[in-house]
């Protein structure tokens, strides 16, 4: 009954409709990935892109949002996004638009991020990946795929360093304006293992293309997971976003922890909050982050 070709797997609705069938809560996972584009200069300015430079040493007038400066698009970044899109079987939008996403934060000098929400450079792709599966020994290669909603070009933000001792926040704008490809994926995965496998495959693809170095620990590839649980056949549950993950292994851990946490919440009669949670590598669990104060309208 529980095999790969059993009723439960092939026709879950029917299975659930049967009397006395166990209604298992399962995980639903969608990934939001920010990949730093491997380019010499930033997305809209001529500042160099380098890891670990002295603070604020790679900041042009435009990066600091000095009034009167205007964005000048980096051709290499566009090429990188197109190549990545093609490698992921996307449709490339020959004409794409840039939007401004407004919010106030110290590491966002202009008060808005230039991104491509409405009409991005690539849409409707597929990331094919594989993982080891099988009934008992897990020695079979299982092919999976996760749909990619869109790939958009956008600016990275600066970095804030909180100095609680002197109650001040130090801002480093070296990273502000670096080109990112944001890959938004459909919630086609169901557990941490799948997510980790997908990310590893993506890393290989990006590294092979040369469009991103893909190093999660250095922040070149940032993965956030949107996690919810539901009973198969029923609508998706409330999702929580999990951030602060610095490796594929921790990604798997964080997702699995979160799925279990949500299941426990629901089974004890509670409700899952639509919130942002941070992965804590020490405990291996997720904790609520500083709240985003309700719904944000990015105008």
């Amino acid at each position: 009954h529980n095999g790969r070709w059993g009723l439960k797997a092939v026709a879950p609705r029917l299975w659930n409709a049967l009397p006395d069938s166990p209604q298992q809560l399962v995980g639903v996972v969608g990934l939001e990935i920010h990949a730093q584009i491997r380019s010499n200069t930033k997305l809209f300015s001529a500042s160099a892109v380098r890891f670990s430079s002295p603070p604020n040493s790679l900041v042009s007038f435009f990066d600091a949002s000095l009034p009167g400066t205007l964005p000048v698009l980096n051709k290499r970044c566009v090429e990188a996004a197109v190549m990545t899109g093609l490698a992921l079987n996307c449709t490339i939008n020959q004409k794409s638009l840039f939007d401004r996403k407004h919010y106030f934060y110290a590491d966002l000098p202009a008060g808005y991020q230039i991104t491509q929400q409405r009409r991005p450079i690539a849409v409707d792709g597929v990331l094919n990946y594989s993982l080891m599966g099988g009934k008992k020994k897990k020695n079979q290669v299982v092919r999976k795929s996760a749909r990619i909603t869109q790939i958009q070009l956008e600016q990275d933000s600066g970095k804030s360093l909180h100095d609680d001792l002197q109650s001040q926040t130090l801002i480093d704008l070296n990273r502000a304006g670096v080109g990112l490809m944001e890959l938004v994926m459909e919630p086609d995965m169901s557990c941490g293992e799948e997510a980790a496998a997908a990310v590893r495959e993506l890393q290989l693809i990006l590294q092979a293309l040369g469009t991103c170095e893909g190093n999660m620990s250095e922040g070149q590839l940032r993965v956030d997971a949107n996690v919810s649980v539901h009973r198969p056949g029923q609508p998706f549950g409330v999702r929580a976003e999990v951030k602060n993950i610095n490796s594929a292994r921790n990604l798997a851990r964080a997702i699995d922890y979160e799925i279990q946490r949500q299941i426990q919440v629901l089974e004890s009669g509670g409700t899952v909050q639509n919130e942002t949670r941070a992965y804590d590598s020490k405990t291996g669990g997720t904790v609520p982050m500083r709240d985003k104060e309700g719904l944000q309208d990015y105008r």
Partner: protein, 522 residues
């Protein structure tokens, strides 16, 4: 005294020349760049009561004058509004300026191009705050006064006291218009988003050109509405405007919205033949509040064209009535976005209150922006909210296209230029102007100018006559995109025939005016 008077008259004559004329004088050696610079700086001191300048960069200017190489604009005295970035060490001369005032570390492209041609920048001129306004009355440095309000025609025709009944320059680039009109510079740069260069140009009796969108680089022009802003050119003659356009137009890599200049620099024809010209008079521009005298001038010039053999036709721009509202929605939306960078963190005014980042932002912005700017930001944010976006912002963009299409249809039907008023009337007294708030005034006074910005077309205001109050009246010409040169050719034709006087004809040395004043009070 006779000699003194002659000397003053000579200086005045020199200062009232066109760029072309004074260039010749400089090249002949009749005057040196340094001498000319000193004369202008002197004149700036004499016209301080106009409050046209925020910063006078005298030391820098004299240095530029001394180093001026033999170039096209060698030694030509210029100014620009504070909205353009220019590297100076700021000299704060007014006490009410908040500390932490921002000094830009780079020069705007259009400013740099002029400096590269040997021009001498004597100062940054006063304006409405962040270019929002139609009077140049709402800046942190106080309002600008129209120099024609101090000239004989106004005093004699109205019997009013210029000091208490001074008139506004219009705005928002009032300081630049006042500077050129009061002979403290030969060229001034303004900005034009909804008429901000043409409006004060008309009220101050000077030539003010708004080039085709994209011809002049906006790098270094603090943006108000990115899709409508252009640097404006203010001069005392149309020929000068054409000369400056040649220097400034062209692609700038730092501004991705710039386009290549359409033609090689050509001189304007001395004798433009209007017999092949078709001039359109838009029906909808007979706006409420349009003064009788402006209508008179409008008819006068239209008749001139007809008598000279041009075809003058009534045309229609049917969506004109929606234009001002559409402009305000789009303007506020872009303003709200463009002003988001002013948070007091990287530059500019920062509030003392720092209990949290949010509080610091809020108080810095509240203290740093005047209520006009704050009003537009709040409106803009409202229009951009998710639930309002389609209803206001997208709708306005669609209406904008209709307005642009109105112009296209008219120009495609054989019309070469449109002739319209620039402003509703001549300059108002400050005491009258301030009876209504900034937003109301902008809405009233932008009526002839803002649709041009929405369509990205070139337009120029040319002074045609003094009103019965002794104040300038100007008319506007609008041409299809990239036809700036032709636009100026037609404008020059008007200029050659209307006989608008130079302010220097009415100039009295200030001490003589004092004597006259005493006479009146006796």
């Amino acid at each position: 005294i006779g000699l003194l008077r002659n000397n003053r008259r000579n200086i005045l004559t020199m200062l009232s020349l066109t760029i072309k004329e004074v260039s010749l004088a400089l090249r002949k050696g009749s005057v040196s760049p340094t001498e000319l610079c000193k004369k202008c700086l002197n004149r700036i001191k004499k016209t301080q009561h106009l409050n046209a300048f925020i910063t006078v960069t005298d030391e820098l200017a004299l240095k530029q004058a001394q180093e001026a190489e033999t170039r096209l604009l060698q030694g030509i005295i210029i100014t620009c509004i504070d909205e353009f970035t220019y590297i100076t060490t700021r000299r704060i001369s007014k006490q009410h300026v908040p500390p932490g005032y921002y000094t830009p570390p780079f020069n705007a492209t259009v400013v740099q191009k002029l400096l590269d041609q040997g021009a001498v920048l004597v100062g940054k001129t006063n304006m409405d705050e962040f270019a929002m306004g139609a009077g140049s009355t709402d800046g942190a440095f106080g309002p600008v006064r129209n120099p024609w309000g101090y000239a004989a025609p106004y005093r004699e025709n109205t019997g009013l006291n210029p000091d208490s009944d001074w008139v506004v320059t219009g705005g928002s680039s009032g300081g630049s218009a006042a500077s050129v009109a009061s002979l403290t510079s030969y060229l001034a740069l303004g900005s034009d988003t909804g008429g901000s260069t043409r409006n004060p140009g008309s009220l101050c009796g000077v030539v003010s050109l708004k080039p085709t969108y994209g011809l002049l680089s906006r790098h270094g022009l603090i943006p108000l509405v990115n899709s409508m802003d252009v640097p404006g050119i203010i001069t005392r003659s149309v020929g000068d405007a054409a000369l400056v356009l040649d220097v400034l137009q062209g692609v700038d890599v730092k501004d991705s919205t710039t386009i290549p200049a359409p033609s090689l620099s050509t001189q304007l024809p001395e004798d433009f033949d209007v017999r092949n010209l078709c001039v359109g008079i838009p029906n909808e521009y007979h706006a409420p509040g349009l003064s009788e005298e402006t209508v008179e001038q409008w008819s006068r010039v239209a008749d001139m064209f007809e008598r000279a053999g041009a075809r003058v036709e009534q045309v229609s721009l049917p969506h004109t009535q929606y234009s001002i509202v559409c402009y305000h929605v789009l303007c506020c939306a872009e303003v709200a976005s463009n002003m988001a960078r002013f948070d007091g963190l990287e530059y500019g005014h920062r509030s003392e209150i720092d209990s949290s980042t949010e509080t610091m932002y809020a108080t810095s912005r509240h203290e740093g922006f005047n209520d006009v700017v704050r009003g537009r930001i709040l409106s803009g944010n409202y229009f951009l909210l998710k639930q309002n976006y389609e209803h206001y912002f997208l709708k306005a963009q669609k209406v904008r296209r209709l307005i642009a299409d109105d112009f296209k249809h008219v120009f495609n039907s054989g019309v070469d230029v449109l002739l319209t008023p620039t402003t509703l009337a001549d300059a108002a007294r400050y005491s009258d102007f301030t009876q209504e708030d900034n937003r109301t005034r902008s809405q009233q006074d932008d009526v002839f100018t803002q649709s041009v910005n929405m369509a990205g077309l070139p337009a120029v205001s040319v002074p045609t006559a003094l009103s019965r109050r002794g104040l300038p009246i100007g008319l506007q010409l609008i041409a299809p995109a990239l036809q700036d040169k032709r636009l100026l050719s037609v404008a020059q034709w008007i200029e050659q025939r209307v006989g608008f006087p130079s302010i220097s004809e009415f100039e009295q040395p200030s001490d003589q005016w004092q004597k006259t004043k005493k006479k009146h009070t006796v």
